[in-house]
């Protein structure tokens, strides 16, 4: 999930290269709608934090109510002091600093799926 369409395409391409089947949303409200419609449809969420309407940590909070176990990764370029703690409290499993690299996304997701 990322409101910047080109960054979203880049993320989708990276995830596809890593062997995942990404579904991109450039509006976090659409992402939440899709999760509500079928809370088991996705195996994980990778989302930007700063977005109009629903921010990444809000998306995480709402998702947790529907699916307590789904891994959620939030990337943020800002997130001042305390962002990580706030994100983890919202149910986020992992915080990535933007700009992130493919290896970091790969590593973050691999830890979740290795456990499964």
């Amino acid at each position: 999930v990322d409101d910047e369409l080109d960054v979203l395409h880049a993320l989708e391409e990276m995830l596809a290269q890593l062997g995942y089947e990404p579904v991109g949303f450039n509006d976090s409200r659409d992402a939440l709608k899709a999760i509500r419609a079928d809370p088991r449809r996705f195996d994980a969420i990778v989302s930007d934090e700063v977005m109009p309407e629903i921010i990444g940590t809000q998306l995480a909070t709402e998702t947790r109510k529907l699916n307590p176990t789904m891994p959620i990764v939030i990337a943020s370029g800002y997130g001042g002091a305390g962002f990580e703690a706030r994100a983890l409290a919202a149910g986020v499993n992992r915080v990535l600093r933007k700009p992130y690299r493919m290896a970091e996304i790969a590593e973050a997701l691999a830890t979740f799926f290795a456990k499964a």
């Binding site: 910047e4 369409l5 080109d6 960054v7 395409h9 880049a10 993320l11 391409e13 990276m14 596809a16 290269q17 990337a75 370029g77 933007k98 700009p99 992130y100 690299r101 493919m102 290896a103």
Partner: protein, 274 residues
Amino acid sequence: MRDSYAYAAEDLVRAGGGPELAWEGATVTTQFQPIYCVRRRTCLGFEALVQARDGAGNHIDSEEFFARAHAGGRPLLDWACRALHLRSYATVDPGDRSLFINVHPEAAVLDARRGRDFGELIRYYGLTPKRVCIEILEQPCSDERLLREAVEGYRALGASIAMDDFGIGSSNFDRVAALRPDVVKIDKSVLNGASGRDKASRALPVMVELLHELEVRVAVEGIETRAGAAAAIEARADYLQGFYFARPAAALGHEAGGFERLDHLLHPTTLAAA
């Protein structure tokens, strides 16, 4: 600062046997085609071209390859190809020739809109922007004003600017006036017309003359025959490129054969007398 997008573009390029780009099931590598300077009889530089293969190793036509990329992914593919070409060139760079890199207009617009620094990518791979010529492709653009801004940005880095495939698509005199390129590359369809005896054969020299009036240097590409090369020289083109002189290749050194052909065209009697 680089963003995740720019990193993604670089991360899609992998080491492999040499640098290669993995893109939606295809593997892409770089090939270099020499561009010759008529006046100096030297190799000005190399155009970086993609060679795409599918999973079974079959060759994919490059136009088809780019056409397959959906509109939203095209700028990312453009950036990933830039990273691929720069990385590939770094492994063969002779140190004194220019590298011509194609840039899609929409990708250029996105560079301007997002403040993406192509110069950082160029320097990362050890080249100076001065030795890079950015070829703006002939495709239409949603925002010609931003395209102009992007081109100004590339120029400010020290790169030179070329317009590709002049004579087709949006590569026309309007764009020459707007972008003020250093070089215009004339599409091969104009050259093909030049070999006939009809009015179309006059198009090439007239076009070259007009572009020279605008203080633009002119390259003729897609030269496949001796007659085509002679027509381009007669039309007073500054630069020549095509299979007749040298095919695209992964390594450099193949430009040498083209010198002989160029020499022979400019001084046809030399060999005959020898």
